[in-house]
């Protein structure tokens, strides 16, 4: 049983979003990391890049497979997590503590279209 954290928003494509004011913090779910297995590489956008809801912005990769990351929300990247770039396996250790990017949220109404923790729990069994 994979872990789902309360208070976060979730996408069907297994990314999570934490909202802090107008800043969105984005990562992948515990379910996603468990499906992939050992993560050996993450491909994240540079600061200043525009990401769009449900559009690919990077990838997490295991030895065998690359899994696209879809942004749960539109916005501009203000930070990417260098610690995860340097040591991608951190995501396997704790997918919620080890976020991928922070964005300045462009359109807060998009948040409501995401899944709650309870809803996500039911689709990620």
């Amino acid at each position: 049983m994979s872990k789902v954290v309360e208070g976060l928003y979730y996408a069907q494509s297994h990314e999570w979003l934490k909202v802090e004011g107008n800043i969105g913090i984005i990562g992948v779910s515990d379910f996603a990391q468990a499906q992939l297995g050992s993560i050996v590489f993450v491909d994240l956008p540079e600061v200043g890049i525009q990401v769009t809801k449900e559009v690919e912005f990077g990838a997490v990769e295991s030895v065998k497979a690359a899994s696209d990351l879809l942004s749960p929300i539109s916005g501009v990247v203000i930070e990417n997590n260098q610690a995860v770039i340097d040591d991608p396996e951190l995501i396997n250790k704790d997918a919620f503590a080890n976020w991928l990017i922070k964005v300045e949220i462009a359109n807060p109404s998009e948040i409501d279209q995401l899944l709650s923790a309870a809803d996500y729990r039911s689709i990620s069994k």
Binding site: G37, S38, V40, F41, D43, E56, G58, S62, V63, K64
Partner: protein, 364 residues
């Protein structure tokens, strides 16, 4: 869709909580403890693979040797009995039907081991070419199970555990042994770039071998996931990637297994013509100069020009480099030249290099 088959070790894989996937019509283990750990076990110690899905075809009869000389690219006649010979079946146009191992059993008997996904195709193709030869072709794939035990500590562990002497087996030779009342065929072969053995037996014998060897506690069960990362680093080709019905063996760097001096073999004429005309493609190595993973099918560019595609690529476990095999237009195949690989809409720079990513560690 046909039912997916189980090897004789299926229950053991499930018990070990292996990640199982259908491959070549069988439920096969992809990994047990994790691809990286399994890969390292084979490079540094010893690992064991269930490869019971492989195909076995026996050719018997007076013309067995001349027949297999005719349908494969390598030279068999001059090799001693007990030798294993790597070769390819080619179509008339010179592209690859499959690659295979030929076990030279006797003057009237050869044992062929082919890729699991190609058994039916290979068998039909072989039978179609028997005209004029006194041979019998038998598909024995269902009768054989197989494990591959690979890694630098393998010889010592296998000899201790199985109480058999394998020191007389040199690289690419085999022998038949009776072990615990079972007939086994053991060869010093493999698909990892390390020393080791492939052990063939029936569906009663192989689980006994598996259980005994695992009970040593010194051999890690390994899945098809690391089998691919290991063979790739050791620059061993895989059908469907480096070789296929679209690729000539001489384009894939396998010229040394294609004996053009043989009087005749299927595909020879086409290869001669291609050599004269010049090869269109060449298989090269690529090393990215930025961190990214070049995967099968990704396009390779020289400037704006698309010049080919990746056949296999990884963030190599043994070397920590982002490397790939790529089949590219011959005129661009210059070691040291800069190329680009298109990875998720980004052009990632790299250079063309040799394909010796990892130094093979065979015992001669």
């Amino acid at each position: 869709m046909d039912e997916i088959l189980k090897t004789c070790l299926y229950d053991r894989h499930v018990q070990l909580s292996a990640k199982m996937e259908p491959f070549a019509g069988y439920w096969m283990p992809i990994s047990y403890s994790g691809i990286i750990e399994e890969h390292q076990a084979v490079r540094n110690h010893s690992g064991m693979f269930d490869v019971s899905h492989m195909g076995e075809i026996r050719i018997t009869g007076k013309d067995a040797i001349p027949f297999v000389e005719f349908i494969t690219t390598n030279e068999i006649n001059s090799k001693p009995f007990g030798k294993v010979i790597y070769g390819l079946f080619l179509y008339d146009n010179g592209t690859c039907v499959d690659d295979l191992l030929v076990y030279k059993v006797a003057s009237d008997e050869l044992f062929l081991v082919v890729n699991a996904s190609n058994v039916a195709k290979d068998y039909t193709w072989i039978v179609e070419h028997t005209e004029g030869f006194e041979v019998l072709v038998k598909n024995e794939s269902d009768d054989w199970s197989e494990v591959a035990v690979q890694g630098p500590e393998t010889e010592k562990i296998v000899m201790e555990m199985m109480q058999i002497d394998l020191t007389d087996l040199t690289f690419y030779t085999f022998k038949n042994v009776i072990w615990n009342g079972h007939k086994l065929l053991i060869s010093r072969t493999g698909y990892t770039g390390e020393d080791g053995f492939e052990i063939y037996g029936d569906a009663i014998a192989i689980p006994e071998v598996w259980d005994l060897l695992l009970s040593s506690g010194k051999i890690l069960p390994c899945g098809l996931g690391c089998r691919d990362t290991l063979r790739f680093e050791a620059s061993l080709p895989l059908y469907g990637h480096e070789i296929s019905d679209q690729i000539l063996p001489i384009e894939a760097g396998l010229g040394s297994f294609v004996k053009m001096e043989k009087p005749d073999f299927i595909g020879k004429k086409a290869l001669l013509a291609q050599k004269t005309a010049g090869l269109v493609h060449k298989l090269v190595g690529i090393e990215l100069t930025e961190r990214a993973i070049p995967r099968q099918g990704y396009e390779v560019y020289s400037g704006d020009q698309m010049i080919g595609h990746v056949t296999t690529g990884y963030l190599s476990i043994s070397t920590d480099k982002c490397i790939a095999n790529a089949l590219i237009a011959t005129k661009y195949a210059i070691i040291g030249d800069q190329i680009l690989v298109l990875i998720r809409k980004k052009m990632v720079p790299g250079v063309i290099r040799n394909r010796q990513y990892y130094k093979k560690n065979y015992k001669q």
